[in-house]
Assembly symmetry: C2
Amino acid sequence: MNDFTKLFNPTGIAVVGVSEDLSRPSSQSVCALIRNGYSGGIYPVNPKYEVFEGLQCFPSVVAVPNKIDLVVIGVPAKGVLPILEECVTKGVPFVLILSGGFRETGDDGIELERKILRTAKAGGVRILGPNCLGFVNVHSNVFAAFGSMTRPPQLKPGSVSLVTQSGGFGYSIALSCAEQGIGFRHVIATGNESDINSVQLIEALLSDDLTKSIVVYVEGVEDGRALLEVGRKAMKVGKPIFLWKGGVTEQGAKAAASHTASMTGRYDFYQALFKQTGIVEIQELSDAVDFLQAFAPGKLPQSNGVAVMGVSGGSAIVFADAGERVGLNVVELQKTTQDRLSSVVPNMGAVHNPIDLTAGYFSQANQVKLSKALEAVLEDPAADSLCVNLATTGKSGSLAAAQVLAQVSATTTKPIMVFSSAPKEEFGPAQLVLTQAGIPVLSSPSRVARAIGALLRYRQCQDHLQHHEDEVFPKSFGRHDGLEDDLQQEWLSEVGSKKILKHIGIAFTDDVVLSMNELESLAVTSYPVVVKVISKDIPHKTEVGGVKIGVANPQELRQAIRDISLSVKQLAPKAHLEGMLISPMVMDGFEMIAGVINDQVFGPVLVIGAGGIYTEVLSDVSCRLAPFGVETAMQMIKELKCLPILQGARGRPKLDLFALANALVLLSQFAWEYKRQIMEIDINPLFVLPKGVVGADALIALSNQHS
Amino acid sequence: MNDFTKLFNPTGIAVVGVSEDLSRPSSQSVCALIRNGYSGGIYPVNPKYEVFEGLQCFPSVVAVPNKIDLVVIGVPAKGVLPILEECVTKGVPFVLILSGGFRETGDDGIELERKILRTAKAGGVRILGPNCLGFVNVHSNVFAAFGSMTRPPQLKPGSVSLVTQSGGFGYSIALSCAEQGIGFRHVIATGNESDINSVQLIEALLSDDLTKSIVVYVEGVEDGRALLEVGRKAMKVGKPIFLWKGGVTEQGAKAAASHTASMTGRYDFYQALFKQTGIVEIQELSDAVDFLQAFAPGKLPQSNGVAVMGVSGGSAIVFADAGERVGLNVVELQKTTQDRLSSVVPNMGAVHNPIDLTAGYFSQANQVKLSKALEAVLEDPAADSLCVNLATTGKSGSLAAAQVLAQVSATTTKPIMVFSSAPKEEFGPAQLVLTQAGIPVLSSPSRVARAIGALLRYRQCQDHLQHHEDEVFPKSFGRHDGLEDDLQQEWLSEVGSKKILKHIGIAFTDDVVLSMNELESLAVTSYPVVVKVISKDIPHKTEVGGVKIGVANPQELRQAIRDISLSVKQLAPKAHLEGMLISPMVMDGFEMIAGVINDQVFGPVLVIGAGGIYTEVLSDVSCRLAPFGVETAMQMIKELKCLPILQGARGRPKLDLFALANALVLLSQFAWEYKRQIMEIDINPLFVLPKGVVGADALIALSNQHS
């Protein structure tokens, strides 16, 4: 693991490139260090000056007599390398390069960045940047940064760390959070990530005692597997990661390519990774603000059952609308709960869920009643979280409610959240009480619903990872005859692909393979069948007329063989025909596609989808990073739009979901074991039957990077 | 049209139910009227007092010697009726009932509310409420309201009016907007809408010169057609309506039923109505805030082409991500535009879209360059709107940018919006300049994208309504023999339904109808066919085994007839069998369903969807309120997920979209003409062919409420 202690807590910082022009990045950094009372050594470097802002200014890094843990470089790109060489000489462990003009500017910049990285690696120096805003250790006033990160308002110390590939936008997240009173630990912009990258930093923050949660903005990571591991580790140590993935659409990705030229992995794979780790995806500044507040108390709902209580019926409806979209259930309360509520809620109100306390209920006079109402609801076994809509309730009413909520909240492990839209002048006193009690206050009922939804998904993932951790350790399938040879090919024919996949335990149609000179003597006993050409030169058989389906009798079979031979000779004249494959037609079952994509960033990813024209049109697919166990496979299946068909909707037969899940598990573990060889696997079609699954065709594409 | 002049601008207001207890609703209303300097007569009413808050207090409404345009009633429900009778006597035109205890509380309350409405109607009094927070005319300080509506902060006068069925939640919308500096005209909570309803109020606001846009929160309207007309009128007079529909999901609707017991129409129909009127749907408090600001300058984008410019690459990516989701296109700029940009953008930046000005670009020193950059982009014909990401830019930089933006914005009709996340202390001066220049500033790039998306959809709807206004006036299909008789039935058989639908111009299969005693002599010339039972007693033929498909030859046909007869006799023994229908099987084409639902709230609504199991599972349907023309029908079709199949995806034949659209138009106009008789129409399946469409079965269900 990377040790960034000296980066985050340097005993001495040299800043190269300070200038009379205080708007220069290096000047800004030194000024911020001085202004904020950084307690270590500050060593401005510029041969032109003897003194900078009252500090001794050094002609070079090596001229600094004291120990330096961090050198901040803010000179133009072409001047960076000589300074870096000085850092090597001086034995500096960390260098932050603020300057742009590298990879993001084209070929020359790429070459320059490579040189710098080589020099740093050779010299044992770690680099943050280049092309970045820097970082701030808020607790220790380390302002190795410029621009907005050094400008007011100063972030207050807290337990949230931020890692961002975009300095400008990332700092927008910090400012939005700060506005709601959220404090920070480290704020780090990573720029081009030439050396130190986001994932390494996140991992380091998991070991930082003062960091309790981590907000991340990334446009792309180079190693998806490292992110997967860090995500799972974060869940294990109980530090939630809130991640914003920029560049999720084609347009977004295009913009990403022009920005830091970082590699953008496929968004579907990121989302699969989020589900497999419990990383909480954020898609708006308000998500960061809301989710940080929601997670801070450390209370998670045990189920999707939620109670809603308040003085505004409209707010309850809006909460229910948004809640249903994120899987919450405004549950029916027990009879006893409703009875208890009846004794403290006015007749004109409602004691079923949502609970209508009636206008004006929140008041000093009603504190005891409110306390009883809250206790009744929180003791209902079906209600595992609570939204209290104060809505526009004024100063005294909201304060009265806040006091009761604070008291009751201390006695329950169920998350409670409050919606208030009252202005600060009215809500201030209540806000103070609620904040101290660790009760989040959000500014719309839908935002409360989405925040509870995020807690619920996190909790479900936590459960899943705790109970099914074994599933991440795959078994080996062992070798079988000819496998190693097979894996030396570029791709495997249908026959070869099916052989391997049968070996790992996936059922396929019972095919008859006839060589070209056996064709005359064929003896098929059961119809209808499918006839397919076999040739090492034809990976995509349908494109050359190499497939005939629905062949009903011996006469049609002979005709089919003749037709195929003729068509293939015309369309692929150079192909060597090895023979014909005769498969029984699968007549029942639901047609699906299962496959593996060995992605550059994420490694082997399993994909399952509905088959036929609708798959392509509707993109009814779900995916997960291999390897995984049957629970994860079931989750994949349950995400599909065609699930009701598999489950036997509208009087159709129920299909064998478990067998499908099992096939996915086998495929995922096989793809993981042979990840160096396998580039792609397609089982298309894969029929799900009332009992079992059966593949009818398969294709394995192999990598050239053989082991 | 309803004249609410005296309601909104009363010359005198009596408030019944004032009390020493100043927390009582009536007391709150009078205090607010006094405090805010309402200039008309204020007449507190309570026989117990001679003076209330320094004003003469009257024993009854009739005891007030002056003219009263509005009586506000805040006494308990059972005391309301006698006061209303006094109002009739006094000739008061408007009564506002704040009190609850009516329809929302059950049978007794329903009866009481009915009585009150009868009395009011008979006496010529219009009622707002009961069970509502009241209303405020911000410009004239009419505070006929209580609760949050009378508490600080006071709304500042402006051009936005708010109509809400939920006082508490609706006022949350007002407060959120007020926080961003948005001013208001009228704020009206409608409560139970016993008499005056939201739609009537919206219509009245369209004629109010001081109202420029209208925000609405509704849980349900009783007359969807009235809303349709008001929505179209709003578009015509150029006053956008921003509508939040509460209770959109099952859970939401359940909550609605328990709230004001208002009728909740189906959300799909609401959304169809929004598309057909240009009503802008809002789904979050921030939508209201953002869209009001976005629409205020009155500039609409001519196309989805958008340019993005700024100093934060991450912000541009986030904008592009959100933009793609709402149909915006970060367009490629012309070569000449890029050349012009090159002369004013640093080399390290990017002159393609998104335009990267590089960190620190926004400054006093760069104002001339920025001005040229903006002009270049705004003169590019492909870029019809512009997002400028100031992100975290500080005080002097953002002010410098704001000054240039204000200047340039005055010279263009293209909408410009700004994203800034800088705190108020930094951004204040820039905000002032931008606000004065009518340039909206939103707090995240995704919010800018969604706001531009809303402008674009509004603009597209405006175009559509301007150019296709004729399509809202349907032609008559005239009568044909037997039609009137047919429409007297409860439902029409396949034969009868097809006869009518063919009459209006929709093609169906060429069927042979055989009476029971003709069955022996049948002479079918072309196979395969479908055989279906004909019986007035069997609306759903498949349920009794009354349909056989894929009948391939005369022998199978005889067998099919025998099987059907047998099955129907067993499963529907009392049914009178008239004969059998022999239809040719439609072998090509794509199977769809087209239908009409005559909804209680919205009247006839056309529905089109993909056929077969996927329709039911995926709900691939779209709908519009009838009647409409071919452009609207095309919009419906283009919303379907199966559109690529219709368009000939993956080498399939292109199908006849125009014929499908035309069938929908005919159906919509027919359903409209006979809306009193037709309850439901189903054409299932309707096959879309490469040329034309052909229905294969149809069922018309008729209403009992005959004309």
